[in-house]
Symmetry: C2
Subunit: 326 residues, 2 copies
Amino acid sequence: MKKIAICGYGNLGRGVELALGNCPDMELAGVFTRRDPKSVVTVTDVPKYRMEELPGFAGKIDAVILCGGSSTDLPVQTPKCAELFNVVDSFDTHARIPEHFANVDAAAKAHGTTALISGGWDPGLFSLMRVYGDAVLPNGGSYTFWGRGVSQGHSDAIRRIPGVVDARQYTVPIESALEQVRAGKQPDLTTRDKHLRECYVVAQEGADKAAIEETIKTMPNYFADYDTTVEFVTPEELKKNHSALPHGGMVFRTGKTGENNEHNQCIEYRLELDSNPEFTAGVLVALARAVCRLSERGEHGCKTIFDIAPADLSPLSREELRKQLL
Amino acid sequence: MKKIAICGYGNLGRGVELALGNCPDMELAGVFTRRDPKSVVTVTDVPKYRMEELPGFAGKIDAVILCGGSSTDLPVQTPKCAELFNVVDSFDTHARIPEHFANVDAAAKAHGTTALISGGWDPGLFSLMRVYGDAVLPNGGSYTFWGRGVSQGHSDAIRRIPGVVDARQYTVPIESALEQVRAGKQPDLTTRDKHLRECYVVAQEGADKAAIEETIKTMPNYFADYDTTVEFVTPEELKKNHSALPHGGMVFRTGKTGENNEHNQCIEYRLELDSNPEFTAGVLVALARAVCRLSERGEHGCKTIFDIAPADLSPLSREELRKQLL
């Protein structure tokens, strides 16, 4: 049984706790938190510790799954933690991946540990589909769509507008764009062509709703480049209809083959997730299994999902995999 | 530039020839055939040799892609060829994979070569999706559907019936089954629930069409367990409407997560291929790239797609992959 620690207990940490319950070969050794451990309510009866206690567990934990945020937590925590433990994170700031990789790689190589960064579904499984698609259909194009699903970052951006009490934002792929891609047309799609943004907003009593709507729709980076809809709802409606965290999306690779490029070939990978954090957690736990195996084989340093042979993610042996799933 | 040889030049061999044209890092060194090389018409101007000349190229070819059939060619050719070359095949008799693997592994290990068996899309990319799905959603079920597409084996079976001149058989997934799976119901589906078989048959003049239809529909293994439709067409209609080789299919993994299994999670991977052999060839060529790399690193013996880190399939470096596709 591999001993796994969770570092940071929010939606993702809770998802990892649940995911480990479905793994016959891993067990949860403890939850490490910056809060008062007594105040953290876990699903199962599991030891809870202060974050500062983690170094004392060196040598007693096979892998730490870091469940903090990408903006400020992981850039610090992952390299630091990799000095003592095998680690897995879900770092998802795409532009900063090379820098994060270099930092974690240096720490892991210096200390003989194995680290995996940017696990989850995007980056993660979607990235895999981009690599496989690109490799098998080189004469083609790749398209990634997200949603219909809740974007936490966009919801937060709305909440920061004066007069807004709460908000939930859905990213929605545009059907006509999907149709063009599926038909193998390899269209050039702008940001606005690919996704809509649907906002559900609870305003303070007496707030200027027209002004809030205008502020949302013209917000640079977040909404200005999209067709955005804003609907004002009551706190009760928001809670009743918009408290889940569904997400998903699609990766397409379409390409041409044949002597005269006469054949269309289309690969579509689609996720429809009732719970984004619980699904992400399932990926992180499978990656933790792989990290433990790489570490045992002496394969140290920082890895990504691109470096992991699929067999290393599975609890089955390679012989079982060939017999049952090939 | 890696030098690749094609062994066997039918639809698949031709597909490999075309696929290599899209690879900046590989070139076609020659086509080896059991026919008279002069009689083989290739797409490009490439050297053609008798199969018996292949051993003379030992040391001059980086990988051989074997494009023969799974019933009698590959069980003999792949282990034999692995004594002298790195090899890739598309062995697709699922039940005999463990035996084929053992034979090829013994040859490759004894001679210090690297072999990859059962490449393509099923076995191949579909197998990968079964492994990834099973690993990230352990509390769930997997479903594979094939089609709509031409089954060569079933078409051949119809052609062997007395009174039949030619035939084409399509495997068609049943929409209601797909819907149940997508909805996360994890249904128990029989063979008949999952696929229909559509047959287009050219009969000899004066043949007993009712008898042919009955023979098809009751044929054990091939049709008896399915709902099968039979339509008689003219040779011209068959040529006009049914001479392409489209195929495809879907792999689903659906699973439950959450404290009370309250969340459905659905992964769907779908292929829609205008040309089955050309797409399969694209996968084999990417696998040949990986085999060359494994061989250079001294990783000998028989592998499957489960053993290949995704990065090894790509012409891009790991650094480029992290930056561009993660």
